[in-house]
């Protein structure tokens, strides 16, 4: 289970938590005052009232210790930049996701150490354009992959001693065996780029390579478990 620290109470932070799988994540909400703390507590989350400018205070939340992901969701970009710099100094491995108000601040946040910048207005603008340009595809994906239906896109990493090691992607036949569609492979050696399987049929899988698959949650889970079992047996 991943532990997430959410700095800043807003519609955005509540929406993110709504979207995330409750079983896989636990949260701690950092709010400015007791009134906000009461509001968040009503939603059933742990809350803490701290001053994010104080390193000791953010350490007390668990940053640098047991927090895996940090959400910087303050409305002011300067607050998010300050928090990002402070948190990055405490933990190099921490995944920091920050919201941006002024697009010009995006680069500053990245320079401060954020992993992913979220501009809600830009995303909304792009989404609207997607809806206009490709209504069929966005409708399908919104209703399935990003929507209420149980169809997901997932990353499956090839574990150590996996039976899939040294297997060619053309021999995987995931569609027939696991009801999954293999979209592509991330070759660990050549970086984080996704190689689509239509072009690279004969890629030989190695430990650490990532398969990007599309399919129902249960089938993804079954596929992951099978890899785990193989790993355990071997």
């Amino acid at each position: 289970m991943k532990r997430i620290a959410v700095f800043g109470y807003s519609i955005m932070s509540l929406e993110v938590i709504k979207q995330l799988n409750e079983e896989q994540h636990s949260y701690v909400f950092i709010v400015k005052n007791d009134a906000e703390a009461l509001l968040v507590a009503e939603q059933g989350f742990d809350t803490k009232v701290i001053d994010f400018r104080n390193d000791e205070a953010i350490k007390s939340v668990g940053i640098g210790e047991n927090i895996d992901i940090l959400f910087c969701f303050y409305p002011k970009d300067s607050d998010n930049v300050f928090l990002t710099i402070s948190a990055r100094a405490l933990d190099d491995e921490l995944t920091i996701i920050a919201i941006v108000d002024d697009p010009e601040s995006a680069e500053k946040l990245l320079a401060a150490g954020a992993n992913k910048i979220i501009d809600p207005y830009e995303i909304c603008g792009r989404k609207t354009h997607d809806m206009l340009a490709k209504p069929d595809i966005t409708d399908i994906l919104d209703n399935t992959v990003f929507g209420r239906h149980d169809l997901h896109i997932a990353q499956v990493e090839i574990p150590k001693n996996s039976s899939l090691e040294q297997t060619k992607t053309s021999a995987l036949l995931l569609a027939g065996t696991y009801n999954l569609i293999l979209i592509g492979v991330v070759d660990k050696v050549s970086g984080d780029n996704l190689h689509f399987v239509m072009d690279e049929k004969d890629h030989t899988l190695n430990i650490g390579d990532v398969l990007v698959v599309l399919g129902p949650a249960r089938d993804i889970k079954a596929f992951k478990e099978e890899i785990e079992i193989v790993t355990n047996i071997s």
Binding site: S10, I11, M12, E15, V16, K18, Q19, L20, Q24, I69, I97, K116, I118, P120, Y121, E122, I123, C124, G125, R126, K127, T128, H129, D130, M131, L132, A133, K134, P135, D136, I137, T138, D139, I140, L141, N143, T144, V145, F146, H149, L151, I153, A154, Q155, A175, G176, N179, L180, I181, I183, V186, L194, F196, M198, D199, V210, V212, L214, G215, P216
Partner: protein, 533 residues
């Protein structure tokens, strides 16, 4: 008998599509200000008129060559034809006749042909007396060379350019809009010239009879002085005459300033309207475009995306700063309230607009614009922004096809990013065509090469494409598993090899653009001939 013949003829005109089409064509050619055809015709006429004027000037010294004569004849024939066409387009004669005929039938009395003829002639004369029609007529006359007087009318051929130069016409309209002010100024100027002329005549005629010999000399001097031209050929010699000159010069400055201010204010008043009409003319050139209501943060990003993908759009925003920002970026902008019917109608919601995007930061405004848009066009695509999740339902009720919530979508991106960043970026890249691979839907046409065959027979692997699923409304597919309900249809994910494709099904495929385009062409070409038509 004659009555019957006329009635048959006008009834034919009333119902004949060929007649209507012909009249519409000539309307687009000669009168429709937004027509491309008119714009081309105007350009040809401008060149022809200028050329003909040069030829006529040349003829003053040298006899006309046979080419010049032929050109003049053709041009005059064209002018006469144009003149008659404009008279024809001015009104519908058959409407007058049919209206009076219906009236006569209703009242059970004979048709009053004399009255009808008078009415028809009156209407045509009304047209002939319009300034532009008079110019048209006067432009034809210089060609009658035998009449020397008509040569002077050559200038009217240049006036004809008013018809073809949009900006000249607009300037005339601007002046026309300030008719009252200009009339007041003209009266004042007339009074000034009259007083000045009488004054200078009284003072100068006796002492300076050589220069101010008669009243005409006095009027000429007054006009030259009041307009600050001052040739100096007539100069007052007496003190009284000089005092009149001082008075005229000083008031002349005032009159000139007044005239300039009238024209500047008229141009300013019309500027907003002029800018909008140029925008509408520009929109009219596009095959289709998107209307963006609200140029806030979301609107700006949408505009950026549309611009990037070379799609046409128009922005409507009531906020002056937003409108100015959009204008600075070079976008087409209407500075108006998008919830007003006439604003959306003028923007083309009933014509070439393909979608309306309600992206203001105020849900109340978005609901109102959505409702107005749906009322004005029942089939147009409407995408609305909801800032508060509680208003999503209201926007759908108002007629939106899709509702977007900036924070919900952003939250979804965050949620998808956590744990599977590569996969998520990949799928987004595919949708946005940022990768080499794209996802597209391909239709199964009736009788095409894939109608009725199984997925296995299609062999996507050989085509270097990946089948993600099939979208269909066909109940025959319901037996298959992996079915996901969409709005009015089902999405069959990873269909089995024995899945039989039916007409109307949509294949959702992933692949390189070149491969998808090639396969789409194959599908289109494999349709039976009747369905192609």
């Amino acid at each position: 008998m004659l009555t019957q013949l006329i009635l048959t003829l006008v009834t034919f005109q009333q119902h004949s599509s060929t007649y209507k089409k012909t009249k519409r064509f000539f309307y687009h050619l000669l009168e429709d200000p937004d027509s491309r055809l008119k714009s081309r015709f105007d350009k040809i006429m401008i060149v022809s008129v200028l050329f003909s004027v040069f030829l006529l000037i040349d003829e003053v010294d040298t006899p006309a060559s046979s080419f010049e004569r032929m050109f003049e004849h053709i041009l005059i024939a064209l002018f006469i034809f144009e003149y008659l066409l404009r008279a024809w387009l001015y009104n519908d004669v058959h409407h007058i006749i049919l209206k009076h005929h219906a009236k006569a039938l209703y009242l059970n009395r004979p048709m009053q042909w004399g009255k009808v003829a008078k009415l028809i002639v009156a209407k045509k004369i009304e047209h002939m007396l319009t300034p532009l029609a008079l110019i048209d007529l006067l432009a034809i006359l210089p060609s009658f060379r035998s009449l020397t007087l008509f040569r002077a009318l050559l200038i009217f051929r240049l006036f004809k350019l008013f018809r073809y130069f949009k900006s000249l016409r607009l300037f005339a309209e601007v002046l026309d809009s300030k008719r009252f002010e200009l009339y007041t100024l003209a009266v004042f100027l007339g009074f000034l010239i009259f007083t000045g002329s009488i004054g200078i005549y009284l003072f100068e005629h006796a002492a300076n009879g050589q220069q101010v010999g008669n009243l005409f000399d006095a009027v000429y001097w007054s006009i030259v002085t009041v307009t600050s031209v001052g040739y100096g050929d007539i100069a007052p010699q007496t003190t009284g005459g000089r005092l009149v000159a001082i008075g005229l010069i000083l008031t002349g400055f005032g009159v000139l300033s007044f005239l300039i201010s009238i024209i500047v204010s008229a141009v300013n008043d019309r500027m907003h309207g002029l800018r909008e009409s140029s925008i509408y003319a520009e929109l009219n050139r596009y095959k289709s475009f998107v209307i963006i209501c609200g140029f806030g943060r979301v609107g700006q990003h949408i505009a950026k995306q549309l611009e990037k993908h070379q799609q046409h759009f128009i922005i409507i925003d009531n906020n002056e700063i937003n409108a100015m920002n959009a204008r600075h970026l070079g976008y087409l902008v209407i500075h108006a309230d998008a919830s007003k019917n006439d604003v959306l109608i003028n923007a083309g919601i009933k014509q070439k607009a393909s979608a309306v995007l309600c992206t203001t930061g105020d849900d109340v405004v978005n609901v109102y614009i959505t409702l107005t848009s749906r009322y004005l066009n029942s089939s147009i695509r409407i995408i609305s922004r909801a800032n508060n999740p509680k208003n999503v339902k209201k926007l759908y009720q108002a007629g939106a096809d899709n509702v977007i919530q900036p924070f919900e979508i952003a939250a979804l991106v965050v949620a998808q990013y956590i744990g599977k960043p590569v996969a998520f970026e990949a799928i987004l890249g595919v949708i946005r065509e940022e990768k080499q691979f794209i996802m597209e839907t391909l239709p199964v046409y009736t009788g095409s090469m894939i109608d009725g065959i199984t997925i296995a027979e299609l062999d996507f692997e050989r085509k270097k494409l990946m089948l993600i699923g099939v979208v269909s409304t066909n109940p025959a597919h319901r037996k298959h598993k992996n079915s996901y309900a969409l709005k009015n249809q089902h999405f069959y994910f990873n269909p089995p090899s024995f899945f039989i494709l039916r007409p109307g099904d949509l294949l959702v495929v992933l692949g390189r653009e070149i491969g998808i385009v090639y396969f789409r062409e194959q599908l289109k070409n494999s349709r039976p001939k009747e369905s192609k038509r």
